[in-house]
């Protein structure tokens, strides 16, 4: 295999070849750096490429392998990190002018975890400004979708999605408040898991919304996703909200056996009259459900009547929490925000207290209804959005009140599990067509709090019986 071909291996395949000394970590890093130099000018997925640092780490990693020392399941594997996650001595910008010179003096807990697993940090990935949902707001330029440069790569971990899909890193980390891991995974044809709230430490991650934020992997295969999650999960005293719940061996849980499982298909998200799900998305999810039924899972429809208001409630909660994190920025440096971010932050500051209070009450009801359903079903299945990646509107501004309401409602597909606080995963379940304009479709799978293993296993069973994850974007 040529060095250039190394980038097309999965993270676990690459780790295996490194472990067997068929490939050196230096060769792997060089291959990825070459790929980044070739592809990233078109996608703008990286804010900072750590060429020298990654090569130095790779040489150490190579030396460790030669002396019989293996640091873990990601030994020598190059990974990308969203630029919201602190990296010691390396700028962490939140894709903003305001944080453009911020250099943390410690690594985030998840970076510690990756390093303990032997991973090599290849660079810091672009995102939307302060992890807001609008794709055009990064102070470092817009990230493009490798499947179609004019389309939204998914937000807010846009660079994590684009870089992973275009083979500019082996696996990556994003942060998911209202869907920022699952959205890029869906739009870029990948696997992304939002872990349970409290499963992964947020120490050293710039917050977006304290009660909704989670850190999760975006990968090309479920197995890569499982291994990456295993590297970052677990109790961390530096984040008091992490739970002392044992972390299973997620990779070992990928048996592919779903025969004893009950899967509920969320009726409201598959009804075009509720949130406007489009036919390709609806059919993709139904086909995936049929495949899982063919593998022995018991699949039936389940109704969650409150699910369609999840987007409104979750956005209100995140807007209020987000603006309360650093209110001085909006007052002292308003001109340094992208227009759309400033509008969102300003509106968030002005939300009446009783509206926020009502959103919290709704959250409690939505959680109870969904967790009740999860007592009857092991996993819930649904779309991740009403349509595949849309064309990015590069004009700043809010078009109308009605458009803003529509966007709030559409956020329900992802907002539901942000509020429930259990794990939710997006996996590619097809493409819109085989001709020009081919775009990924996605299936969302969600489970009980702290039961990431079952969700990953269902996705793995699906992926093992399909070939969508082997498709490559036309870039």
């Amino acid at each position: 295999m040529s060095n250039g071909g190394l980038v097309f291996l999965s993270a676990t395949e690459l780790a295996s070849k490194i472990r067997d000394k068929d490939v050196s970590p230096v060769e792997a890093v060089e291959a990825y750096l070459e790929r980044i130099a070739q592809i990233d000018p078109k996608l703008n997925a990286y804010i900072t490429v750590l060429a020298d640092e990654a090569l130095a780490e790779a040489r150490q990693s190579e030396s460790d392998i030669a002396s019989g020392k293996n640091n873990g399941p990601l030994h020598g594997v190059p990974v990308g990190i969203k630029d919201q996650i602190h990296t010691k001595g390396i700028r962490t910008s939140d894709a903003s002018k305001i944080r453009a010179d911020f250099v943390p003096d410690t690594d985030a807990a998840v970076v510690d975890g990756l390093k303990r697993s032997g991973a090599i940090i290849l660079g810091k990935l672009n995102m939307t400004e302060f992890a807001m949902g609008d794709p055009i707001t990064s102070a470092f330029g817009v990230t493009r979708n490798p499947w179609d440069l004019e389309r939204n790569p998914g937000t807010s971990s846009a660079g994590s999605g684009a870089a992973t899909a275009s083979f500019m890193c082996a696996t990556s980390l994003g942060e998911d408040t209202g869907g920022s891991v699952r959205g890029p995974a869906a739009n870029c044809g990948l696997v992304g898991i939002r872990p349970s709230w409290g499963r992964v430490s947020r120490f050293g991650v710039d917050g977006a919304s304290w009660s909704l934020d989670t850190i999760g992997p975006i990968s090309r295969t479920v197995e890569d996703c499982a291994v990456t999650l295993g590297a970052i999960a677990g109790r961390d005293p530096r984040d008091p909200w992490t739970w002392d719940v044992p972390v299973p061996d997620y990779r070992a849980a990928l048996t592919g056996d779903v025969s004893a499982l009950k899967i509920g298909l969320v009726k409201e998200f598959l009804d075009p009259d509720v949130l406007g799900v489009t036919e390709p998305v609806r059919q993709g999810v139904l086909d995936a459900a049929q495949l899982l039924a063919g593998l022995g899972a018991e699949v039936e429809e389940v109704s969650l009547p409150l699910a369609p208001i999840s987007g409104i409630a979750s956005r209100i909660i995140s807007s209020v929490e987000r603006t309360s994190l650093r209110p001085e920025w909006l007052r002292e440096r308003p001109q340094d925000f992208h227009h759309n971010t400033r509008i969102a932050f300003t509106a968030g500051e002005l939300i009446p207290s009783q509206i926020y209070y009502k959103a919290q009450k709704l959250r409690a009801l939505v959680r109870k209804q969904t967790l009740d359903a999860l007592e009857r079903y092991d996993v819930l299945a649904m779309p991740i959005d009403s349509e595949p990646a849309t064309i990015m509107d590069m004009r700043p501004g809010v078009r109308s009140k009605e458009a803003a309401i529509q966007a709030l409602r559409r956020g329900s597909y992802r907002g539901l599990f942000s509020m429930v606080s259990g794990p939710a995963l997006s996996v590619c379940c097809g493409f819109t067509s085989d001709g020009e304009g081919k775009l990924p479709l996605a299936l969302q799978l969600a489970g009980r709090p702290f039961d990431e293993a079952t969700v990953l296993n269902v996705a793995h069973a699906y992926q093992q019986n399909t070939a969508w994850h082997l498709e490559r974007p036309p870039i």
Partner: protein
């Protein structure tokens, strides 16, 4: 409920020490009124009796 107008939004902003630029006021108006209208349209029986706490996990919810 009728929409907040620009003067009312500026007054709300002033109360929390924010000044809204002329170039921003229309977009803030759309965004804020969208949030209020969307939530105003949610009418669920028994909602007032719900504890509005940001409960993340309760005993027994974690699956080990």
């Amino acid at each position: 409920m009728s929409d907040l107008n620009n003067d009312e939004i500026r007054a709300l902003a002033k109360a929390v020490g924010l000044e809204i630029l002329d170039s921003d006021i229309t977009d803030v108006n759309y965004s804020l009124n969208a949030i209020i209208e969307a939530m105003d349209g949610v009418d669920i029986e028994g909602l007032n009796a719900v504890e509005p706490l940001a409960i993340i996990l309760q005993n027994g919810e974690a699956q080990s």
